[in-house]
Symmetry: C2
Subunit: 429 residues, 2 copies
């Protein structure tokens, strides 16, 4: 049995995603396809434009059989944390055989060689990395230069090939491979070249517009452009969500919450949260009272050392109460459960297999998570589970949903406690 695993955000699902999914299926010829998907906040440090249940439905109606939530603690970390969580979820299903990811380069062999260096940490490479970081380069840049110098010295690769990891999807792909090495997973990794716009591309590019461009079209209520760029099922779901008052939600909607929260926090309070180091605690505390809104705050805090996405992610940690301890233990112990967001009729069969084989307990009804944990602790297969980490990770996902829904226009949906009251999305096809 072959099971294809994909790592997605689908914010929202567009033609580029669908193309990638179909290409991946052609390549792997899977019996089933499973996606691990960010929940209500994404790796760019933004609230998802529509919530995770709607995006699950988009996935299921586009050829995914089972959608598992990437726990928030991983979804809003840097590429390394995101990748570790996502690959660990796929690995722990214990049914996924092949993972396909999109990349700008499409060069799996080079990415694998680079990943190997990163995992094995040869002395010279570590030395180069320290040197580059000292020069004030951001971590991804310092790492790229250090690897270039290393492969040049050791004559492993043409150093110019290392340049591929300057691009966002190659960086992410590299991190998937690093996590795969670390987890010693038997899953096979493939990459296919992305088509269409870079996902950071701001502007509409017709059928193959980036998710960012599509969100911008939604923001400016240019629904014709959105319609062009997404499959019809995505468009229907988006329109239904907007009509029902469940979105669209943008980072800017959180502006007052973020600005007021940072004005309330002292520099020393920020040390409770991950990533407020390298002077960032001081900069956030200093500029919060002097900023017009959340984006202005990020711009004032920014130096060339930090990417904007990183700062935007950091700005979410205090409002979601995502504390450093939780991040650190999660990065050590990995995800503690498989939250099933939805499945098709066919996916139900895969779920039955997962139930037998997975290395983590799965939660299909969020309101039952404590019962799931209790039962799991009795099974030898789940002896490695850390019960308090399970609870902390799960409660963060629930908090993220409840905070996301504060920004729904509909009062009814805003007060619905969605995680506790909605079951998984089930598509009968």
């Amino acid at each position: 049995m072959r099971v294809l695993g994909v790592i997605v955000e689908y914010n929202p699902l567009h033609h580029g995603h669908l193309y990638h999914l179909n290409k991946a299926k052609e390549l792997v010829q899977p019996d089933y396809t499973l996606a691990v998907m960010s929940g209500n906040f994404t790796q760019r440090g933004e609230p998802a434009v529509v919530d995770k249940f709607a995006r699950t439905e988009m996935a299921l109606r586009s050829g995914i059989d089972v959608v598992v939530e990437l726990p928030t603690v991983f979804a809003i970390q840097d590429a390394g944390g995101f990748a570790f969580g996502a690959v660990a979820i796929l690995h722990n299903t214990h049914v996924v055989t092949d993972v396909v990811f999109g990349s700008e380069s499409g060069k799996i062999d080079i990415l694998k060689k680079i990943a190997e260096i990163i995992v094995e940490e040869p002395e010279d490479y570590v030395e180069y990395l320290h040197q580059e970081l000292k020069k004030g380069l951001s971590f991804p840049n310092a790492r790229r230069v250090a690897i270039m110098r290393y492969v040049e010295k050791k004559r492993i690769l043409d150093p110019t090939l290392v340049d591929i990891i300057a691009r966002s999807n190659d960086i992410l792909g590299l991190e998937y491979l690093v996590s795969a090495y670390r987890l010693k997973t038997s899953m096979k990794f493939h990459t296919i070249r992305r088509i269409g716009a870079d996902y950071t591309e701001q502007h509409h590019r017709g059928k193959y517009s980036s998710a960012t461009a599509i969100r911008n079209s939604i923001k400016s209520q240019d629904m014709e452009k959105v319609k062009e760029a997404v499959p019809s099922q995505t468009f229907e779901i988006l329109m239904r969500e907007f009509r029902e008052g469940r979105g669209p939600i943008f980072y800017e909607d959180l502006s007052v919450l973020i600005l007021a929260t940072f004005r309330a926090l002292k520099r020393s309070d920020l040390s409770d949260y991950a990533g407020f180091n390298e002077g960032l605690d001081e900069r956030f505390a200093k500029y919060a009272p002097r900023s017009r809104d959340a984006l202005d705050l990020l711009e004032k805090v920014k130096t060339k050392r930090f990417t904007f996405s990183r700062l935007r992610r950091l700005s979410l940690y205090p409002i979601l109460m995502m504390r450093k301890d939780l991040v650190n233990s999660s990065n050590k112990k990995g995800p503690q459960y498989l939250r099933i967001l939805g499945f098709t009729k066919k996916g139900r069969k895969l779920l039955a297999i997962i139930r037998e084989k997975a290395l983590l307990p799965h939660v299909t009804n969020a309101s039952q998570y404590i019962q799931v944990l209790k039962k799991s602790l009795k099974k030898e297969r789940f002896m490695h589970i850390d019960p308090s980490l399970f609870i902390e990770q799960f409660e963060l996902d629930v908090r993220a949903t409840n905070i996301h829904s504060v920004f729904f226009r509909s009062e009814e949906h805003r007060s619905y406690e969605r995680d506790m009251r909605l079951g998984p999305v089930i598509i009968q096809k």
Copy 2:
């Protein structure tokens, strides 16, 4: 030298306030008048409709010579904490000789007798109080009944007279007297009957409308009614503030911030803040994800045991990071500084006397507060100051200003760090 002290919020200053001030001056014939005033959040648990600098100007242009800020940690506590902070500020100026407060009853002797019982805590009274609290009465009600039973038994007073402390200003006046006893102050207390509407009165009542009714008129943009109810100088200041984009600000404006903050906090996190006891931690945590907005949350949390104002005050503590430790030490050690918000030309002379005599250091430029503290610690007169409590109280006031200004329409004023960059309000008259 006689110095009149008054305890005010001026949210906003209206004809009733002016009447009270002039009556108080007739009674005391003071050389100077000093007000202690709430800053940017008030005892009803609301943001002030316009900020403390604008309200200071209203006071100075209406016959007050010096305005001192009531530190936020006291301003948004219950009547007891509010009164303790305010009376301690007046006492610590060491120049105020007479305090006049408004009350529904106007009966100082009865209030003093009741205050004496509360301070001296005779055994029978304490026993009655416990009995009434056990029945589930709110604290003010339980106390009233216990005092009634006590004075009846001891034949100190006609018990029906105790009923006066059912009304909000008599309750507050009683707390002033309790604090005065506890501080063993030599200041003389007087009360005069309030005229016009009760301050909780929602509706416009012409010239003598309550501050609540005036804020409601502002909310519904009925500026003709506002004009009728406030002195012309207040009206001018209000209009200027609104024109400049600095208000009006209402509790409802904080709704998203409050709702999202409570959705982020676990029940156990709430124990960091004062007052989340008697099951309130559980109720806030339970209802936050199920509420449409902040007012809906308070309504869902409410039982007959709690007043709405109490719940609204509690809802501010997490967003201002006003922690239990700070409240407890403040209620033990009192205010640690006199923050001078403004003064008239005449008031400058009083300030010179305060500089020599006060039992607390005074801060006229907030940006200098650390320097003021350092200098003060060298003076024997200020040996009783707790430096870390000074800093904590002061930083809370600054936070409160910065969080209040998040809700200004004007981006310029929203990002101005008002406490750090505005000096005291000075009126040349």
